[in-house]
Amino acid sequence: MKKQIIKLVPVVAVAIMFASCDRAGKDHTGRIYMPDMTYSNAYETYSASEVATPEGVNMSARKPVEGTIPYGFIPDDVKIKTNQALLMSYVAKNHYSHDPAKQDEEKARAANEIQDPLEASAENLAEGKRLYGINCTPCHGEKGEGNGQLIELPSGGDGPFTSRPQPYKTLLPTLKDGAIFYSVSYGRNMMGGYGFQLSVNERWQVIHYIKSLAGITVATGEAVAKTEPVAEKK
């Protein structure tokens, strides 16, 4: 009997060895052959940096050097006569404040300074609809009536977001294009700004779509003539 138990020892040992091959809990990433190939030595998106900034930020993503121009940027130049140039020049030329205390005056400034540069087309409208579905419907609702699923639960109760947006039909006719663009980009009252989530082009596409929801015909494309130089237009 004793001998049999002794014989069992290696068997149990092997069994434990196999058992220990299993991953240890949900927080464990498992094993790898070559860590330097799996985990990049170069900085990957969102990886932490070993060197912190003087402010103590150790993100590998740093602010671009001052004067950097974004990819695809077209400078505000009289020789360039496309709508794209106009779109991009808004980013460079028109800096508006994020300060909620200055919201009203900045919005008024934008209303005077910015014109809708995007051509009215079926593609732009369709893309606007797609983007509206993703970014706006949670609050503004599918038809822009201000009854999205975060405002009114499908079950009928009040949703978690307690500020009900105004219906586009009553709101948009009172606003200039530039003012709408300001509100979409920088936010307005309880609405957050979408300048970080949507490109300039995408924002105008969304504006075209919400105007169609409000029953306003988009009369642009003519307002800013393609062939006219930007500088002369101003």
Partner: protein
């Protein structure tokens, strides 16, 4: 009711007691009025609610702070501010609601105070009648009188997936083996008894574990099981399927994407633009959480972590960038350095649903890695997935394949047929 009652009283009581009667009547009437206001006139309340929703709800909520302050108790607050220029606090409130400039210009102290309390000015509602304002105030003071209103949603806790299936199987097999051993023991014992009873001399049998057959069987089993386990363990090296790290903030995809049906790309908007799908910046969180400061499961605790990280002062509603610090989310999906993967190609051109690779994230309370992210898994999908050649304009450039499709030389186009299994597509 009150009037009828008082009429009866008037009949029965003598006229000499007029004074006491009037007093009595006043008290009765006021009691009647009080009880009426406590019950809330349903029709007026419903009117008030719809008026509030169309005029005020963009900035105000009876209970929650928004662009404008939370309004419940507003009548009492203005009443408490007292009479001025012969108008009561409530009358001043009416003036304020119609055109706040009149109240401020009128010099009412509380109005001046309120006007400077918020960065954004209130809209003008000159068109509202006094009775409409009364209805609105009735709704504001009794927001729950309708009965059916719920302010918070309690999300059903999603059922955790059964992950212990493997363990149960092992236990089951163990018990079956145990049963076999016991049964063998029982039959042996019975054999012995039968042999003893029949008077036969028991032949010394070799025990079963010393037979060659048994030894061979054990050896074979060991090779098969050990071999399988070894190969399996080695193929799992470098893969993290099921990896479910604890995140610094208990963000629930089940609540946001499941219950509230917020699109994946609302937060991960670069999935259709760039190589990486972004981890949303706190700016995106604040689009909603500027207002929503309390969740159904953890209350204010987890949302307060966002506020701390973004430097948001929820009381004064201001940001302090000096206090902002990044949230250190734990990366779940990691491809080795020598593999190129591009989100926008899959989301935009391929029109692949997020759930195909990430699983039903909308049901996950805590996200785990759904797919193995192994090369075999990639290749399998590239071989089997049909490209939407007809409807998707992205593939218009593949003229020869379009021609072959037309001439029925080929009947379907997979990712592999447009070069999806070429080595250099992902390794270069």
């Amino acid at each position: 009711m009150t009037i009828l009652f008082s009429m009866k009283l008037e009949n029965t009581l003598s006229r000499s007691k007029t004074f006491t009667l009037t007093t009595f009547l006043t008290i009765l009437l006021s009691i009647g009025f009080l009880s009426a206001s406590a019950e809330v006139d349903k029709a007026q309340w419903a009117d008030g609610k719809s008026l509030f929703k169309s005029n005020c709800a963009a900035c105000h909520n009876p209970k929650a702070d928004g662009t404008g302050p939370a309004l419940q108790g507003v009548t009492a607050r203005w009443e408490a501010a007292g009479e001025f220029k012969g108008k009561s606090g409530k009358q001043w409130l009416h003036t304020w609601i119609k055109n706040y400039n009149d109240a401020v210009g009128g010099g009412y102290k509380y109005a001046v105070e309120m006007a400077s309390s918020r960065p954004s000015a209130m809209n003008l509602f000159v068109g509202l009648k006094d009775e409409d304002i009364d209805k609105i105030l009735l709704y504001i003071e009794n927001p729950d009188a309708g009965g059916a209103t719920k302010t918070t949603v309690v999300a059903d806790a999603p059922v955790q997936e059964e992950k212990g299936a493997g363990a149960t199987l092992y236990i089951f097999v163990f018990f079956l083996l145990l049963l076999v051993v016991i049964l063998i023991g029982v039959t042996n014992h019975l054999d012995k008894i039968v042999a003893e009873k029949s008077g036969e001399v028991a032949v010394a049998k070799t025990p079963f574990y010393k037979t060659t057959n048994f030894k061979v069987a054990v050896l074979l089993l060991a090779i098969v099981f050990g071999g399988y386990k070894t190969v399996d363990t080695f193929t799992h090296f470098g893969r993290q399927q099921g990896y479910q790290p604890t995140q610094p903030i208990k963000f629930s995809h089940a609540l946001h994407a499941g219950t509230h049906k917020i699109d994946c790309q609302y937060c991960h908007q670069t999935a259709n633009k760039g190589k990486n799908s972004n981890i949303p910046s706190l700016n995106t969180c604040m689009n909603c959480h500027k207002q929503v400061s309390k969740g159904p499961k953890y209350g204010t605790e987890e949302i307060a972590k966002i506020y701390a990280a973004v430097g948001w002062d929820a009381y004064n509603k201001t940001y302090d960038q000096g206090k902002a610090k990044p949230v250190e989310w734990v990366r779940i999906h990691n491809l080795p350095d020598h593999v190129y993967f591009n989100h926008s190609q899959h989301v935009n051109a391929g029109k692949v649903k997020c759930q195909t690779c990430h699983g039903n994230v909308q049901d996950m309370e805590e996200v785990y890695q759904y797919a193995p992210l192994s090369m075999g898994w990639c290749i399998n999908c590239h071989r089997n997935t049909e490209v939407q050649f007809g409807s998707n304009n992205y593939y218009a450039a593949y003229e020869k394949i379009h021609e072959d499709l037309k001439n029925k030389k080929i009947d379907k186009v997979t990712v592999a047929s447009v070069g999806g299994t070429e080595c250099q597509r992902c390794h270069y």
